[in-house]
Every structure is written in structure tokens, then in C-alpha cells.
């Protein structure tokens, strides 16, 4: 069992959890992910690593409640344990040799964008962070981003935080104003990553996206996480999770993410009712 040493709700649906997992902590790097199973009957949930502490032997994940398993995870308290915590999996983010990078986060994707921004900052890269949220009450990691960004652009859909507009609006403005990024790293909803990639393709800027498809084992065994990248089938768990955004077939990835939507909705409603009964 893996003990939860810290648990904090960052907004109504997003929580941070620091978990004792010495083996995963020993080799964890930004961009990689872990598989978490809340309890014996739970799903294997892939979550990208938000932070790690090799000395404490802990790994931090930040997750949004989107279904039964993440709801179960959110209901666990400090001092309790998760049934399984496996990692690190996937390939880490390439940070070497980059001089000027735009890190773009959308919604809970900012939780994964943060360790990437931090790693780049620590490597001496100039970091422009463009963080987008629906509204101010959903904002996470604001101070953390501010600390590792040379330029921190705040965007919200409704204008309650920073500038009203999309992350792509901010990115286009920066590029048009002469900012020369050697790479853009975009992490967020599939639609956001799709439009960031379309935009950067116009300007010929290399773009890396972090994919989070449905998967089971996370080690290359099921093939459920397969994506089409540059016309080839790739497994996000072992070949990714980061890919060249200009080559990813986003429309296919969006369709595949809906495979179990109906079952997930039924299951989520049943679990909500269960928790309501307990409380």
C-alpha cells in the first residue's frame, strides 16, 4: 500500500496528492506518468507526475474528478493509502538545449505543464508560461508558475482572471510581437492542443503535446492508448506521452477518448449517489 502524505483540494474538482512511493520517486522525471489504483476494485488511472521528492520518496499527482475512479481518489484522506502506485512510466520531457520555450497549460493540464516549466527554468531556459482556465475560481498553481516563468501570461474564458480569451490568442500575439520560441509545449484538453498545434504549424515552430488517452496497463501491453502520429500507430504509454503536435491525429484521439463515455457516466452517477449516502 502507498500512503497519502499530503492531500489538498486546489479547486472544487482538482486535488493534489503526495504519495509515498519510493521506487517511483527514485527515477521520476517531468513529463512521465504513474498509474494509480484507488482501491482493490478500482481502475488503473494514468496520471502525469506533477512533482517528486527523491529524499522523502514521494511523488505528487494533481487530478481532476472526471469519473468514478477519480471521485474515489478525491475521497481519500491524508494518512490513508491507495492500493497501487506504479511508475514512473513513459518517456520524460526533453529539456536539453532549449533556449526560449512557451509552455502552454489548459485547465488541469496546467498541473502537468508546471513541472515542465520548472524543469526548463532550472535548466536555464527562458520560459514563457501561458496558462488558461475557464474562470478565476478554477485557477491552480498561480504562485508556482510565477516563480519559474520569465513571462507569465494569464488567460481565462470569462475574463475573471488575466485577459479574456484563449491561450492561442495569447500565443499568436506573442509571436506576432516578435517573440522567437524554439519550442512550444502544450498540455491541456485535446481541442486546445489541436489548435495550438495548428497555430504553430503556420509559424513553423516545433510543438510538443502531452497525450493522456484511455489506457489500462501503461506498459505497452493493451494497445488501448494507441494514437496515429505521422500516419503511424503509436502507444502513448511507451512511445509517449509526449508527441510532435504537428503529427498527431487529434480528431481521431478526440473520438477515441469517448469510447466508454456512456458507461463512465452511469458509473459516475452511481458512485456519486453512493458517496452522498455515506456523507
Amino acid at each position: 500500500m502507498y500512503r497519502i502524505v499530503k492531500k489538498r483540494d486546489l479547486n472544487p474538482t482538482v486535488s493534489l496528492m503526495e504519495v509515498e512511493a519510493p521506487m517511483a520517486a527514485r527515477r521520476a522525471k517531468a513529463g512521465q506518468f504513474v498509474i494509480v489504483i484507488p482501491d482493490e476494485k478500482g481502475e488503473r488511472i494514468p496520471l502525469t507526475i506533477a512533482d517528486y521528492d527523491r529524499e522523502r520518496g514521494t511523488v505528487t499527482v494533481i487530478f481532476q474528478v472526471v469519473g468514478t475512479s477519480t471521485l474515489k481518489l478525491q475521497h481519500l484522506k491524508e494518512g490513508e493509502s491507495v492500493y497501487a502506485f506504479v511508475g514512473p512510466l513513459g518517456r520524460p520531457t526533453h529539456t536539453e538545449g532549449l533556449k526560449n520555450v512557451a509552455v502552454i497549460g489548459g485547465g488541469v493540464g496546467n498541473a502537468i505543464a508546471y513541472p515542465v516549466a520548472k524543469a526548463l527554468h532550472e535548466a536555464g531556459t527562458r520560459v514563457t508560461t501561458i496558462a488558461g482556465f475557464r474562470s478565476q475560481d478554477l485557477v491552480i498553481l498561480e504562485n508556482e508558475f510565477a516563480a519559474v516563468s520569465d513571462n507569465f501570461v494569464r488567460m481565462s474564458d470569462d475574463g475573471t482572471w488575466g485577459t479574456k480569451g484563449l491561450v492561442t490568442d495569447a500565443l499568436r500575439a506573442l509571436i506576432e510581437n516578435g517573440e522567437k520560441f524554439d519550442e512550444v509545449i502544450a498540455i491541456g484538453p485535446l481541442v486546445m492542443m489541436k489548435f495550438v498545434s495548428l497555430l504553430t504549424k503556420e509559424y513553423g515552430i516545433k510543438t510538443v503535446v502531452s497525450m493522456n488517452p484511455i489506457m489500462i496497463d501503461g506498459t505497452g501491453m493493451c494497445g488501448g492508448c494507441r494514437l496515429t502520429v505521422g500516419g503511424e500507430s503509436k502507444f502513448a504509454c511507451v512511445d509517449g506521452p509526449e508527441f510532435d503536435g504537428h503529427l498527431v491525429d487529434f480528431d481521431e484521439a478526440i473520438a477515441r477518448s469517448a469510447m466508454y463515455r456512456e458507461q463512465e457516466r452511469h458509473s459516475y452517477e452511481a458512485t456519486c449517489n453512493l458517496f452522498k449516502g455515506v456523507e
Binding site: R44, A84, L89, I216, G223, G224, A258, M259
Partner: protein
């Protein structure tokens, strides 16, 4: 006097139209009377040809003699001396091509039901465990085994019996490998696997789950941690696809994914969270045991029609005859001599499977595998309606370890290079099972695990 009946005793089993709606075990096992009667068919041949057919060389006449004497505990003692997982082997070994194929009784009639007697003996022990085995005295040497499947479990068990301190590292959250994620409950109950693994733990074997070697820790780090030798029993877990249009549609998955959802994650039960798509018309592509398992699971999940699409004829199917027969009895439709060329989807955003376009085939001259080569019949394409497609085309070894370990060579198909003793190209690293042979059987993997255990023992002795 031996029992001279030409036929072996049938095992009682669930009726086909009952069992294809539940996940309970199909075959129910011999009663003591049936077992005694079957044991009496063994002639106790001096040269014991059956033993030569067994990859782990079980003393078959020896354990059957004990059964004949009415001593199932003694029979288990003989059996378990050479087989670490007898309850598993009694169920999933292809006895018809191994021990039973060599049985003298098979010359005139049916061979002795060796597999059924093995199962009876192992199950008797599970229900009447008696005195637990004693943990052997340790020899102070540490060995790491990667993968808790048939090869790794066997290797670990053999080494533990010799006094080694063995740690198994398993990537998944439950030990058993293909025995828990691949082979379905109705063919191999997971409780049986768990009990066999408990037996290993009493021998002192430690099992660390959730450890993905190659990512969580590397082979080099294991050596640094003081393991003197490492056995790679990492299997062949990477699924293959056909590379035809439409394979990324929703409703197309690998047999590995489907079986993992059903078996490991128990998606067929209402009290687990992993979703499974409840399909109406299912097409399984492939003709091996995995295809049969996937088809039979799909049927049990309530599909109205489940077909197996296979490009050669039934005679060339690599699956065991017994599995093909069981599948047919349960209502699985065999669509042989046809091959998918495209998977067709619904229009609109959700992109779901609506049909498979198949082409009919005929058999030509034998190919490299010795089987007659399937050839497309031009103009014979048709659409087979379905809402779920399972690709059971075989698997390859996972490259996670070979790509992160120096001096560990692989060859065509991604399999590890290893000699007959399981020695790889890296000193102190041994390998066996599907990781070396490509997808094969449980018992061959167990045989390789056993051979490597002896080689590891020799290696460590030579170093000290």
C-alpha cells in the same frame, strides 16, 4: 489389473448453453472414483515415454501410481517435486501434443488422462493442504526474477528450493502474468493461481508488485542492489495489429486489452470500476487459443453473435482442438478462409465500428510454417456487420527492458537472444519463456524457467 477401457474418463463439465452465460469454470474435475478408475489405465511403463513429452519432466507414472494406491498426498508430493504450478498445468497444458501424445495406451484407443489426473491431484492438495512446506535453509545469495508469469514463478520456485533468496518484480498489481490477465476465469480460476503463488511464498519467494523494470528500476540498478543474477521472464505482451484501415475506430481493440479488462480488472463483475463495452455482434480475428478465449468471454458478456474470422481453415488453427470444440459448443461461429481488409465505421464524431470488410481466401502451397498459404480470392469481398472487433493476432516481447539494458541483445521479432540454458548476451542475466521464444505455451515457459534456475545456480556457484 489395469483398466483396459479404450477411452479415458470424461471430466464432468457445465453444459454449453449454461456455461456460455457465466464465468464459472467449464470443466469440474474428476471425482475420487473417476480419478482412481482413470489412474488404473496407466500401465506404469518402465521407459515412461510420457515423461519425455513433458517440458518439466514430471514423474508421471510415479504420481499416477500413488493415486492408484489411494494416496493423493503422496501423488502431490511426486508431482510438485518437478512442477511448481500443477493445478495450472493440469488445466492449460496441451497434453494432447506432449505427455499424452507419447502414452502407450494412445496406440490403441485414447491415452491416459494425464492432465486430468494432474489437475485432480493438485486440486486435492489445494483442498487438503496438510502440513505447510518448510522454507528451505538459505544459502545467502540473492537472485532477482523479472515477471511473475509462468517462467518467472517456476524459476523463482526452483531457486528458492535450492536456498536462494528470490525476489520477483512484477509490473502489474497482481502476480501471475498471463495466468491472471490472459487466460479467462472459466478456464483457469484466479483463486487457483493465487493458491499456487501462496505456495511459492511459503518457500520464501518475495513478490514485489507494481515494479516496472526498465522504468521504475533498471537491470543495472538491480545488480547494484546486490542481486547476483537476474532472470527475465517478461513474456510477450506487446499486441500486434493488422495495419488495415479503420483499426483506430472505437470498438476495435487488441485481445490483450479485452482480456485484461475482463480477467485482470474483472470488468465482467458489477462491483468493479473498469468499463467494458457490451457488444451485440463481435468479430474476433485470429485462430489461436487467445482468439478462442476472447470469443468465449465476449459470448459470456452477452453478445448475441460472436464470430471468429481466420484466414486459413480450421485444420490450420493454432488453438488446441479442445478449445476450438468448446468454443463451437458455446455457439461461437467459425468464419474460416476469410480475412479482414478494412474496418468500417459509422459517420459522425464518435467513429464506431459498424462492419468488417472481409475477403474470402483459398489455400495454396505450404509456406515457411508448413501450413498451406492462404490466397485471396479476387472479387470475393463482403461486409460482416458488427459493433466490436477484437484483434487476436499474436504478441511480441515488450522492449522496455531490452531497450534500457546494455549488452542485452535481441533478434528478429524483438525476442531476447539466449542459449539453451537461458544465458543472454549480458553476463549474469538469464531469460526464458515467451520473452525468448515469442508467444508459446505456459508449460514451455515453465520448462525454460526451470532450466534457467539450474543455470543460475551453476553460474553463482562458479563465481563464489
Amino acid at each position: 489389473m489395469p483398466n483396459m477401457s479404450a477411452k479415458k474418463n470424461e471430466m464432468p463439465s457445465q453444459a454449453p448453453d449454461v456455461r456460455n452465460k457465466n464465468f464459472e469454470e467449464v470443466a469440474l474435475g474428476y471425482t475420487p472414483e473417476l480419478a482412481a478408475d482413470e489412474a488404473a489405465r496407466c500401465l506404469n511403463c518402465k521407459n515412461a515415454p510420457c515423461v519425455t513429452g513433458c517440458p518439466v519432466h514430471v514423474n508421471i507414472p510415479g504420481f499416477i501410481a500413488k493415486l492408484r494406491e489411494g494416496d493423493p498426498d503422496g501423488a502431490y508430493h511426486v508431482l510438485s517435486a518437478s512442477n511448481a504450478l500443477p493445478a495450472v498445468c493440469g488445466r492449460v497444458c496441451p497434453q494432447e501434443t506432449q505427455c499424452e501424445a507419447k502414452c502407450v495406451r494412445g496406440l490403441k484407443g485414447e491415452p491416459v488422462g494425464i492432465g486430468r489426473l494432474e489437475r485432480y491431484t493438485a486440486d486435492y492438495h489445494l483442498h487438503h493442504p496438510g502440513k505447510p512446506v518448510e522454507k528451505p535453509a538459505g544459502n545467502g545469495h540473492k537472485v532477482a526474477v523479472i515477471g511473475a508469469g509462468p517462467a518467472g514463478l517456476t524459476c523463482a520456485g526452483e531457486l528458492a528450493k535450492m536456498g536462494y533468496q528470490v525476489t520477483i518484480f512484477e509490473a502489474l498489481h497482481i502476480a501471475g502474468g498471463v495466468l491472471v490477465y490472459g487466460i479467462p476465469q472459466f478456464r483457469l480460476p484466479k483463486e487457483i493461481v493465487a493458491a499456487e503463488i501462496e505456495n511459492l511464498k511459503t518457500l520464501g519467494v518475495e513478490i514485489v508488485t507494481n515494479a516496472v523494470i526498465g522504468r521504475s528500476e533498471t537491470v543495472d540498478e538491480l545488480f547494484e542492489d546486490g542481486y547476483e543474477a537476474i532472470f527475465l521472464g517478461t513474456g510477450a505482451g506487446l499486441p500486434m495489429f493488422m495495419g488495415i484501415p479503420g483499426e483506430s475506430l472505437n470498438g476495435v481493440c487488441s485481445a490483450n486489452e479485452f482480456l485484461t479488462r475482463v480477467n485482470l480488472m474483472k470488468a465482467y463483475r458489477d462491483d468493479t470500476d473498469t468499463p467494458i463495452y457490451r457488444a451485440h455482434r463481435v468479430v474476433v480475428v485470429g485462430g489461436g487459443n487467445v482468439a478462442m478465449d476472447a470469443a468465449r468471454c465476449a459470448k459470456r458478456l452477452g453478445a448475441e453473435e460472436v464470430s471468429i474470422v481466420y484466414r486459413r481453415s480450421e485444420a490450420e488453427m493454432p488453438a488446441r482442438r479442445e478449445e476450438i470444440e468448446h468454443a463451437k459448443e458455446e455457439g461461437i461461429v467459425m468464419r474460416v478462409l476469410q480475412n479482414p481488409v478494412e474496418i468500417l465505421g459509422t459517420d459522425g464524431r464518435d467513429r464506431r465500428v459498424r462492419a468488417v470488410r472481409c475477403v474470402r481466401m483459398e489455400l495454396g502451397e505450404p509456406d515457411a510454417s508448413g501450413r498451406r498459404r492462404p490466397i485471396e480470392i479476387p472479387g470475393s469481398e463482403y461486409e460482416l456487420e458488427c459493433d466490436f472487433v477484437i484483434m487476436a493476432l499474436g504478441t511480441r516481447p515488450n522492449p522496455l527492458i531490452s531497450s534500457t539494458t546494455e549488452n542485452l541483445e535481441t533478434k528478429r521479432g524483438g525476442v531476447l537472444v539466449a542459449d539453451e540454458q537461458g544465458k543472454t548476451t549480458r553476463e549474469g542475466v538469464f531469460a526464458g519463456g515467451d520473452a525468448v521464444t515469442g508467444a508459446a505455451t505456459v508449460i514451455l515457459a515453465m520448462g525454460a524457467g526451470k532450466t534457467s534456475a539450474r543455470a543460475i545456480d551453476e553460474y553463482i556457484r562458479s563465481k563464489n
